[in-house]
Symmetry: C2
Subunit: 272 residues, 2 copies
Amino acid sequence: MKMSADLEANFAKAKDSVFQVAKKGAQVVCLSELFGSLYFCQKEDKKYFELAESIPGPSTKVLSQWAKELKIVIIASLYEKSEKKFYNTAVVLNTDGGLLGKYRKTHIPDDLEHYYGEKFYFSPGDLGTPVFKTPFGTIGVMVCWDQWYPEGARMLAQAGAQVIFYPTAIGFQVKGPEAINKAEQEAWQIIQRSHAIANNVFVAAVNRVGVEDHLNFWGTSFVADPLGRILKQASIDKEENLVVDCDLNLIEEVRKDWPFLSCRRSDLYGKS
Amino acid sequence: MKMSADLEANFAKAKDSVFQVAKKGAQVVCLSELFGSLYFCQKEDKKYFELAESIPGPSTKVLSQWAKELKIVIIASLYEKSEKKFYNTAVVLNTDGGLLGKYRKTHIPDDLEHYYGEKFYFSPGDLGTPVFKTPFGTIGVMVCWDQWYPEGARMLAQAGAQVIFYPTAIGFQVKGPEAINKAEQEAWQIIQRSHAIANNVFVAAVNRVGVEDHLNFWGTSFVADPLGRILKQASIDKEENLVVDCDLNLIEEVRKDWPFLSCRRSDLYGKS
């Protein structure tokens, strides 16, 4: 999805997409990180705090209606305002429209130099790494920078997640060296495929496209299977909605050959 | 390296290779897993226990002479017999010929169906994950199946490892489905590149080649840099010695942009 400064238009576009993929059979739909607005963390400006809202709140009310009407699960990334703090939060709406739960982004980039100045806007998540039991399988959600941490995926898989979703907003530096841009994008895909491999789960990375100020969001949303194979991958610069069939039985099949989880040496890993 | 049933020939070939790469400037040389013999773990046969030896012992004595003569560090995988148990052990010989230390393989595959029946031959490692300070940098060693575990690489990087070596013996199932063989080899490279990325270290995977009974070892030894880029990669079926220049300054450079280690949320990860 490509976002604009028009908040209502973003929501309308998201609705169109959600209804389209639901018609194609999608059961769990994940929108990209902070889909309701441009990626405002490229600079520090207090005015953007006004984008934050309570959860449940106006956005979850709308999303909940979509989920209920379509009888699907929706994962959406919102800017959350709690009583005292602000968070980069992902919500999970269930098929009955109920709020199944939420996850607050754990690892917050503090990198204004590269236009990811999120510490100004978000407190680090304090809800741990919950998994959500949906009618279509047990899912986990991590948000963007979390994707670089094998610890997060491991915790979700150990808690039973079968699919891990990564709503994301990541792009090329518009003025960055091409070689580094290329390496970063490749690394982004490799690290997430590695979570699928290490844990034998499905991984779905959902990124935005379009140039916004200093960042050219690199899209290439993809779904990897429990062997790390890419099942489908979206365009690098065009809007595209992927509908991907994930046979959850494959998880158990792969784990018979690759019992990585059951052969962990937790006695050695210690607390670190 | 391709191994044969002739133990002396394997050692002689290893010596030739070590001396050749040292002449080309190699400072730290890593041999592949259990380079002294065929990969005997494809079946369970007590006769192979006779290959085990003490450490220090006959092999380290020879390797130590090479290291001292060439003033290099040598990493070698040996079948270790301790007083009570047997281990799949990697030794590190220093430039003065001294035994800098050893690491005992932590994760032991118990998969005779796919011809990796190692639990019959090796006890799980009990030495933790030491790092070794050499004149050429701080290194860590994991052995083969350890490579699937992000925990191992993470512990080594946190302890200061700049390069992580993975002596390995892994191959295609000779009678395996081609699609699965291909996926497994790709996953093998991705998971190890992901360790380089997640920890911003160099990773060197050192595998054997050649068909031995049910396994066709897939070679493709490679070195990845702290961005996960492959610097060099060896042949899939021919013997080849890679000499790869690793600029250790790159580690610090990359960590300025990608401070993954310093932004870990160890408060959340818990003991698992």
